[in-house]
C-alpha cells in the first residue's frame, strides 16, 4: 500500500463484512507529541481473544496452517516502520477497533493519501451502512456522518453519483482545512 488512505480502505473492508451497521474512521494529528493516530471502528461481530491474538501476531499467524490474512500485518508493518504500532480492541458481539500510530516526522511514515476517496468508495459500495469520519488536529475537530447527509437528501439514495461527488469535494476541503498547517508533513 502506498499510502495510509489505502490501508484505511483495506481495514474498512474488514469492518463491512462482519455485520456492522456503522464504520467510523478517525485521523488525529498531535504535532506536540509527534503522533499521528488513525483508527477504524465498527459494531460488527467482533473477534474472540484467540482471533485477536492470531491476527495481531505475525509469528503466530505464519505458524498456523490456516491461510492468514494480509491486511492487518501490512498495516502493522507500516506503523512499525514509522515508529508506531497497531492495537486491536475487539469484543465478540460488540465490535472492533483497529488503531495504528505513526511518528509524524518519521521519514518512513507513509503519506496520508486520498482519505476522501476512501470514504466515498466505501459509501458507494455499502450505501446501507453509516460511515463517520472524525478529523482532529490539536484543538480543531471535524465530524462527518452519513446520517447527516441522509437528513438532507431524503429519498435520494446516498450512492447517487452527484451526492457521492459532492461528499468527496466537501471532505477534501475539510481535510485541507483541518490539517492545513501540517498538511505537507502528513501528506508528504
Amino acid at each position: 500500500m502506498v499510502d495510509l488512505s489505502l490501508h484505511l480502505m483495506d481495514i474498512m473492508q474488514n469492518s463491512v463484512v462482519v455485520g456492522s451497521t456503522f464504520v467510523e474512521v478517525g485521523i488525529s494529528a498531535e504535532k506536540s507529541r509527534n503522533l499521528l493516530t488513525i483508527y477504524v471502528k465498527d459494531d460488527g461481530w467482533g473477534m474472540s481473544p484467540e482471533t485477536v491474538k492470531r491476527v495481531s501476531d505475525p509469528f503466530y499467524t505464519t505458524r498456523s496452517t490456516r491461510k492468514a490474512g494480509l491486511g492487518i500485518p501490512l498495516l502493522t508493518d507500516a506503523a512499525q516502520m514509522a515508529g508506531g504500532e497497531v492495537h486491536i480492541e475487539s469484543e465478540a458481539g460488540r465490535g472492533t477497533t483497529v488503531t495504528a500510530t505513526f511518528q509524524i516526522d518519521n521519514i518512513d511514515r507513509k503519506p496520508l493519501g486520498d482519505v476522501a476517496e476512501t470514504m466515498t468508495a466505501s459509501i458507494m459500495g455499502y450505501p446501507d451502512m453509516e460511515f463517520h469520519l472524525i478529523l482532529k488536529n490539536e484543538d480543531t475537530e471535524y465530524v462527518f456522518r452519513t446520517e447527516d447527509v441522509r437528513e438532507q437528501i431524503g429519498e435520494v439514495p446516498i450512492n447517487d453519483i452527484e451526492i457521492i461527488s459532492f461528499i468527496r469535494d466537501m471532505l477534501n476541503e475539510q481535510i485541507t482545512l483541518i490539517f492545513g498547517g501540517i498538511l505537507n508533513e502528513i501528506i508528504s
Binding site: 500500500m1 480502505m9 473492508q13 468508495a121 458507494m124 438532507q152 435520494v156 453519483i161 466537501m170
Partner: protein, 122 residues
C-alpha cells in the same frame, strides 16, 4: 466551502433523474476491493467509474464493490453486468481503461475485449 445545506439543491436534481429512469433494468459495475485489489489500484479505478459516469450524466448505472475476485495477479478486476445480468470481467484495470469501458461498453454496449479476462493467456 461546501456545506451540507447545499445537498438540498442536489436532492432536487437527483430526484428528477431518478424519476426519469424508474422501472427499466440498468447496468452494474462491481470492483474487486480485496487487499490485493486495493494495493493494485482498485480504489482509483472505482472512482474513475464514478467520475466518468458523472461527466456523461449517466445516472442509471450502479457502482459497487466486492471482496476477493480470485486472481490477485489480474487485479484490479471489474465485473460489468448488462441489463440482462450478463457479465464481462475486465482485468488489470486503470483509470484510463475505465474511460474506454464507459464509452464503449456502458454507453454503446460493445465490451472492450482487449481488456477482458478472455484476452489473457492463462
Amino acid at each position: 466551502m461546501k456545506s451540507l445545506a447545499e445537498l438540498a439543491e442536489l436532492r432536487k436534481k437527483s430526484l428528477d433523474a431518478i424519476n426519469m429512469r424508474d422501472g427499466h433494468a440498468h447496468k452494474r459495475v462491481v470492483v474487486g476491493m480485496a487487499t490485493c485489489g486495493i494495493a493494485a489500484g482498485a480504489r482509483p479505478v472505482m472512482n474513475a467509474f464514478t467520475e466518468e459516469l458523472k461527466k456523461r450524466n449517466i445516472n442509471d448505472v450502479t457502482v459497487g464493490m466486492t471482496g476477493c475476485m480470485g486472481m490477485c495477479v489480474l487485479e484490479p478486476m471489474v465485473d460489468v453486468y448488462d441489463e440482462n445480468g450478463e457479465k464481462i470481467t475486465y482485468v488489470k484495470m486503470n483509470p484510463e481503461k475505465v474511460a474506454r469501458v464507459v464509452a464503449e461498453h456502458i454507453v454503446n454496449g460493445q465490451p472492450v475485449t482487449e481488456y477482458t479476462i478472455a484476452n489473457e493467456n492463462l
